[in-house]
Symmetry: C2
Subunit: 178 residues, 2 copies
């Protein structure tokens, strides 16, 4: 990049406001889930994705993709979730490198117990503050960003989890708030 394209005043304020809002919001979401459901939001998301999968079962790599998790993170996380008895791993017959992760009944119960508090939090912290038009704008901006951030490489070296556009719900699933 030749010489820096600095942010103008307007952009600066936008970025800082976004940063602040985002921090404050997710900090509280995180805290609420931690306090009331004893799990970080990342784990909640994993449980949600599993609950939406056919047979409440997914391959680890697929689960990593849909829950926006690196393989390593997922591996560690599932290990914990397994200790808690919420998920179980079984070997994959057809591809012996692979592993299935399955949401147990206890896991589903934990998710269903966590959901109301979480959804209420999201609603009260986010949607209650926004007009319908603002919410629509937020969706528009977010979807634009997701599209922007999922195809191009942008940062040449190393790269990361490929992050394909997340496929959506498929089955019973706990009515949740991702």
């Amino acid at each position: 990049m030749a010489h820096t394209r600095w942010l103008d005043d307007e952009e600066q304020r936008t970025w800082r406001a976004f940063l602040t809002a985002q921090r404050l919001l997710f900090e509280r979401v995180e805290r609420q889930l931690q306090n009331e459901a004893r799990m970080p939001h990342g784990y909640y998301e994993i449980l949600v994705r599993l609950s939406e999968a056919p047979d409440r079962t997914l391959r680890m790599s697929r689960l990593a993709d849909t829950s926006l998790s690196s393989r390593s993170r997922l591996s560690h996380a599932v290990a914990r979730l397994e200790e808690a008895g919420w998920v179980e791993r079984t070997a994959c017959e057809t591809d012996r490198r692979g592993a299935w992760a399955r949401l147990t009944d206890a896991g589903l119960a934990a998710l269903q117990a966590a959901a109301p508090g979480h959804v209420e939090t999201v609603r009260s912290l986010l949607f209650d503050a926004l007009t319908p038009a603002q919410a629509a704008a937020l969706r528009d901006v977010s979807e634009t960003l997701v599209a922007h951030l999922t195809d191009r490489p942008v940062w040449p070296a190393g790269d990361d989890t490929g992050c394909p556009t997340p496929t959506q719900a498929e089955e019973e699933a706990c009515p949740e708030a991702g």
Copy 2:
């Protein structure tokens, strides 16, 4: 809360898109700073706030507030930054409980070295993807959320860092992207 106000379909999609966009964006911002400047974004923010303060110096608690950091986090962070020689702590004369944090010359240099890459990242990942109208909408939504999240208690117990509305720039400062 009586019985859960679930998210409707529209809200669900908005929330998931927001979540995804946010994750993808900050993951990359984080990675870029980590790779190119050897510091997490939280540390960058601390350096920025200090660079904007008169005399590049702030009380720890004030620094915690303006950088949206808990006291504990800041304490750990400044300890690291001090090891790196980027910040130095000195005792406060008038209030002997207190401490000043000051950005050293080396710290300012590190910040100035980090800024272009960071700003370029923010621009290319965020602003380059948005129309001016979308950027304006993002700012509007963000500011609404910040207002919403900074006054009310919302979550009764414990509470957290008071998080006053962040005061804005004051001095030389590195032209940055908070």
